[in-house]
């Protein structure tokens, strides 16, 4: 359960970019390998933001599936489970090209 610390980090970034303006919505992009449970993140967000200047803001979670690309045969695949092996040629010279991101992407702010 590390979603609480993540929410504190999100709050810090949101405040820094909001520059005192009211925050309506926070967009975050979460890769499938980030071990973040979206429901838990949203629940923790209400706990962390409640009673602060960020109260009432909505955390909008955009999940991103994990994707693997093969360096040998070029095959790209979406992963349902984390198996580091190419489904095309069976090789393990593969790179994760998506699924590890954890970004605050956008903020909806009250107009200044």
């Amino acid at each position: 359960m590390h979603e609480l610390s993540l929410c504190r980090a999100i709050a810090g970034i949101a405040r820094r970019h909001a520059g005192g303006r009211r925050v309506h919505r926070i967009g975050v992009r979460v890769g499938a390998l980030r071990q973040v449970v979206p429901e838990t993140l949203v629940y923790c967000w209400s706990m962390v933001s409640d009673g602060t200047d960020l109260a009432g803001s909505v955390l909008d979670v955009e999940p991103v599936p994990a994707r693997l690309a093969c360096r040998d045969c070029g095959h790209e695949q979406e992963l349902a489970e984390l198996v580091i092996r190419c489904a095309g040629c069976g090789g393990d010279r593969v790179a994760l090209v998506a699924g590890e991101e954890f970004l605050l992407t956008t903020l909806d702010l009250a107009e200044a």
Binding site: G12, Q35, P38, E81
Partner: protein, 250 residues
């Protein structure tokens, strides 16, 4: 702004548009003027900045730092006791993460290491991992300049510690054969982040049905590059090879 509440139930996304996302600037849901700004900032950025500061301090002091992780009960603290005894002559510091107690730190007393305890429990929920700021807060309690090696014993947990870099040079995890062969598939992110996987409690193998070949296959599936060492913290088997890896001489 009702359309944006849809995600609170965790059902994910159903925005329109090719990227599956509302185009920036579509503020039709808001009653008053709202501006969408693009941020694109990594949420781990602050942790990682502190981890880099920790790493710089370790490097300046010439200390090698290993982050030791495992599930609860895999034998980290028993292994540490054995390790500290075997590393007499190496100046070792231990940063000990524990949610509430000092039990593990107490078990390490008297073995010649400098121990700094971090209790992660506070407020309405203890943290289940060590992060870079927590480790940074412990550094003033260790005489880094006088040490050769610092072992960070993370909180026993197979999920959260994998997410937080603390500035370590290497990551080792302890797997116990009593955990069965499928743990790498159940906790792939943790197994993926390890440089070395210790296979502990091998003295129990005669009494177990665990299939170590299947464990190795499962580990390779999620982390083809991981090194492994078979050890028993109880009997001391394999501890010399582990110590050589720890100190960077193996």
């Amino acid at each position: 702004m009702g359309r944006f509440h849809r995600h609170a139930d965790g059902t994910g996304h159903d925005h329109d548009g090719p990227a599956g996302h509302a185009p920036a600037g579509d503020m039709s849901g808001y009653a008053t003027g709202v501006q969408r700004i693009e941020v694109l900032e990594r949420i781990f950025a602050e942790n990682d900045r502190t981890a880099a500061a920790n790493r710089a301090d370790f490097d300046a002091a010439g200390v090698r730092v290993v982050n030791l992780m495992s599930g609860p009960g895999a034998g980290k603290t028993t292994l540490l006791r054995r390790t500290l005894a075997a590393l007499a002559g190496t100046r070792v510091g231990v940063i000990e993460g524990d949610i509430e107690t000092s039990l593990d730190a107490d078990r390490l007393a008297g073995l010649g290491a400098e121990v700094a305890l971090i209790n992660t429990g506070h407020g309405f929920g203890g943290e289940c991992h060590l992060d870079a700021p927590m480790v940074r807060s412990a550094l003033p309690r260790l005489p880094l300049a006088d040490l050769d090696l610092v072992i960070i014993e993370n909180v026993g947990n197979l999920v959260c510690p994998a997410e937080f870099s603390v500035g370590e040079h290497r990551r080792a995890m302890v797997y116990a054969v009593t955990e069965g062969e499928d743990k790498p598939l159940k906790y792939p992110v943790m197994y993926r982040c390890a440089d070395l996987v210790l296979i502990n409690k091998i003295d129990l193998l005669p009494y177990l049905d665990v299939d170590l070949a299947a464990f190795h296959a499962n580990l390779r599936a999620v982390n083809p590059a991981a090194a492994t060492l078979e050890i028993s913290a109880r009997t001391g088997a394999g501890v010399d090879a582990w110590c050589a890896w720890l100190t960077g001489t193996g």
